[in-house]
Symmetry: C2
Subunit: 320 residues, 2 copies
């Protein structure tokens, strides 16, 4: 049996009990896998021990998981009292603490000291260079970045970013685990700051912030415009394919002939700042809070319901 199609992890250790770590845990639990979670903040773990079972069960309500399998996963879900206890017997250790290079490096060193050599170690970093993340480690060949989106238990994409020293077998094992979890792993050829998702998200959010701060459009109209416009289009066909289909039989070649002048005009006019000052942050925060005041819990539930419904729709469109 090949490494990729092969064995599932006997246990997954998630280190970091925040939103992303909790999502990884809920996802693995929903597949019936034994998970143990650890965080240096006992408060964070206590909260997570309530939140993660809830998130795993929401997946049942959303039609993304099966009750019996989730309950089996929950029976084997453990709050670890130490890093050592967390990683004991784990084939896959997931680092999921906040985005701070020094903190991640120190944690990865500690993980290396206590983790069995057969385990693979993935970092959930959303944009740091794997060569920096794993710089202080001795066993770099088993380490790579596996960056999920938020919420990890619903969005299928996971970016895999190996360092130059990552063993191809470690990439294959990560791919195999992720596919078994229903995820869609994409491997970058080389690391760039923000990887693929962070860069595209940053490009979009800068423009969205700029459009709101310049008064061209309100927060909620802008969000709706992206949701029911370009995002819907890209969810059905990625950007390059969208434009390849956009000019009929002539493809992207004719599309560029017709619209490159427009794109070049817009590229020259897009927001190009790379800092948000305190005043701009305050204005942005106030505008977003006002747009969604009193509706955040409802909107989170609706977001998750929409995600689940879209995933179902895409699966049906593939099979019919």
């Amino acid at each position: 049996m090949s490494a990729e199609s092969g064995s599932l992890p006997a246990k997954v250790a998630v280190i970091g009990a925040g939103a992303i770590g909790g999502g990884w845990a809920a996802l693995c639990i929903s597949a019936g896998w034994p998970v143990s979670i650890y965080d240096t903040s006992s408060r964070a773990v206590e909260d997570a021990m309530e939140d993660i079972p809830r998130r795993a069960r929401v997946l049942i309500a959303l039609g993304r998981a099966t009750p019996g399998i989730v309950e089996r996963g929950l029976q084997e879900f453990q709050q670890a009292k130490s890093l050592l206890q967390a990683v004991r017997g784990a084939d896959w250790v997931i680092e999921a603490i906040h985005e701070d290079l020094g903190a991640k490096q120190r944690l990865l060193e500690s993980i290396e000291q206590v983790t069995a050599p057969e385990a693979i170690v993935t970092s959930s970093s959303s944009g740091l260079a794997p060569s920096d993340l794993f710089a202080r480690l001795l066993q770099r060949s088993r380490c790579l970045v596996a960056h999920p989106l938020n919420p990890p238990e619903l969005l299928p994409l996971v970016e895999l970013v190996p360092s130059e020293e990552t063993d191809p077998q470690a990439i294959d094992r990560a791919k195999g685990y992720l596919r078994a979890l229903g995820r869609m792993p994409i491997v970058l050829h080389h690391a760039v700051p923000g990887y693929v998702v962070g860069r595209i998200a940053a490009a979009v959010w800068r423009e969205c912030i700029d459009l709101v701060l310049s008064g061209a459009i309100d927060v909620s109209d802008l969000d709706r415009a992206v949701s029911l416009g370009p995002a819907l289009g890209w969810a059905a066909a990625g950007p390059h394919l969208t434009y390849h289909l956009g000019a009929g039989a002539g493809g992207v070649h004719i599309f560029l002939q017709h619209l490159l002048t427009s794109f070049e005009r817009w590229w020259g006019d897009l927001a190009s700042w790379d800092k948000l000052d305190q005043g701009q942050q305050r204005t942005l925060i106030a505008a977003v809070e006002k747009a969604y005041e009193g509706k955040v819990d409802m909107l989170r539930t609706l977001r998750d319901r929409r995600l689940a419904a879209i995933l179902r729709a895409l699966e049906q469109a593939r099979t019919t």
Copy 2:
């Protein structure tokens, strides 16, 4: 009865028989509205007279239109021999020729000369300033931009961009017509080059082109990453809402505390070029053509099926 909730157009005139004009026509036909189409190229109109009925009927197969209503629309679908014949009796004239300011200005002048004063006139421009588009007209109060996405008969968003001289009643009538067509009109407070959609699309595509040209990722992996990652997320919740929900109860305020440093690092590193030279264009075209070689028709059908399935899913998520 208010103008917005009020009467439907007795007839729609679409001027320009390309991909966008054809989409407008298919959409109006699918609502059972009388449509007449005109183009200075008789070849383009001949092609459109075959293509538009096909596109309207595809909407039935996709569950986005009702057979009886589409057939009623098709019975009243006319190929106009002249601009005068096209606009006669129309309450709504849609300009949908290629994106060229001078050509659009000249066409809009001709439209003004033959169109009844009660009709509204919308331009399908994807980014030109309404003050420029309508500069040569005498009756500017009835004119505004109504920019659809591609394909117009499937993607719900339509950007409305009035000029300073547009009468609010014309905006309301455009909104009313678009809502009756199942579209989601969004009104910009003031025009910016590329409006909202073009700017966001330009920001995304520049980064996507850069990631492919720099060798970080292949065309098809990138397209899949956007589809199953950020686009899926934004389709369920727009960018500002995504980040407002991204840091738990603390909202966008806490999100910025955690991740603004990352975003600022990425903003400083994003692609900032505003021209694609001939060599880059050739490389991009070759990469996109190779990624989708021999699969374009299948992918177009799949894209439309996915769009229809996602729209159905979003409607169900709203009502259940």
